[in-house]
Amino acid sequence: MLARGVSRSSVIQSLRVMLIPGRYGLERWSYVLQRVSGVVVSLYFIAHVLETGNFIGGITVWSVPEYSFAERAYEETVKLLKNPIFDVGLAVIGFLVGFHTINGIRLILAHFGFSLGRPKRPEPFTPPPSFSSKQRALFWLSISLAVFALLYTLDALTRVFRP
């Protein structure tokens, strides 16, 4: 269902602009990643509530189920989640959450006019003041934290790095 005046091609165009950073540089990558991570983490949050709820039998929990039923629900959930696809998924979530937090703080600072350079006379081959080294450093910090979170999650699940 599309609203009036919105054509299918304009929706595809919007998605392309939102999801493909192109060759516009680091700030555009930040925009795309912040969006994707925000939406994916929101979806994960819903999935996470359902998943943890399942351990205790989903909505049946309000009815005080039998012990055997609760045990079976628990076992089934554990079995379902013991799956390399979920492990990789969780590592990706780790990456996205790590990125979203620090980059979110970077964006909040920028949005309030902090950590940016001051207006100055344009010079060829010098980046605009809004792409300040503080802003860039925070971006790379968020990437570092994201990579760390990714490795940490994988390690916690597989124990590759700790025999």
Binding site: V17, E27, S30, G117, P119, R121, P122, P128, P129
Partner: protein, 237 residues
């Protein structure tokens, strides 16, 4: 030395309606030749139906904005060999209605500038028209807005902005930057009125700091910075 470079140019004829298409042209390129020179070569020697807009050919009038290999740039300010590609894709700017081929209708940009009153506001208009004295500014007062006066209204930033693409009501980088240019000018008396105009959903609050405006600006204007500074002013009230 002459090299052959393939120009893959977007073509659109309004009378055909619907979608445009790409057409390829082989262009002999010499050192120093710009994308605009290449387009003029095509028009003069291969296909006179190609429409291009330009005037100054020296990056000062702001009429030749196009997208080259997916990034906004002035056709007259980009050298072909600098790109180091055998094929070069030339497309019209985004976020504007298309007139024909590479020519876009800049009306949205000018309409939004007008809505944000991007001109000097003085209460005493009689004095403004016939000044009786000089209105001096200090070095610091000048530095607060000088960067933003270099804008040539090419509209490249407006085309590169992903927010304008996904939410066309957003005022966009150039008009908001221009609003800040006057807001920060010590001679301007727009003050609160200016903040009121941009302190809305379609105004400063919609910017996501994707920075593409400042990345493509051929004049080093940094609209992204101006929007964040304007936002800070709006927050202070």
């Amino acid at each position: 030395m002459v090299e052959k470079v393939k120009f893959r140019v977007f073509r659109y004829r309004p009378e055909d309606g619907g979608r445009g298409f790409y057409k390829e042209y082989e262009v002999p390129v010499k050192k120093g030749m710009t994308i605009l020179d290449g387009l003029i070569y095509i028009k003069e020697n291969i296909d006179p139906t190609l429409s291009v807009r330009y005037s100054c050919r020296m990056a000062i009038c702001g009429s030749c904005g196009v997208r080259v290999n997916g990034v906004e740039t002035l056709a007259c300010h980009t050298q072909v060999l600098e790109l180091r590609r055998r094929t070069i894709r030339v497309e019209p700017m985004r976020n504007y209605p298309l007139v024909k081929d590479l020519v876009t209708d800049m009306t949205p940009l000018f309409r939004k500038q007008k809505a944000l009153m991007t001109w000097l506001i003085r209460r005493d208009t009689v004095e403004q028209e016939n000044p009786t004295k000089q209105y001096l500014q200090s070095e610091e007062e000048l530095e607060r807005y000088l960067q933003f006066t270099y804008c040539i209204q090419c509209g490249l930033c407006y085309s590169a902005c992903p927010v304008v693409s996904t939410f066309p009501d957003f005022y966009g980088p150039q008009p908001l930057m221009k609003a800040y240019r006057y807001y920060a000018d010590s001679r301007d008396e727009g003050g609160e009125e200016r903040v009121r105009l941009v302190d809305r959903f379609e105004g400063v609050w919609r910017c996501h700091f994707a920075g593409s405006c400042s990345a493509v600006c051929p004049k080093g204007v940094d609209p992204a910075l101006a929007i964040q500074l304007l936002r800070r002013s709006a927050l202070k009230g």
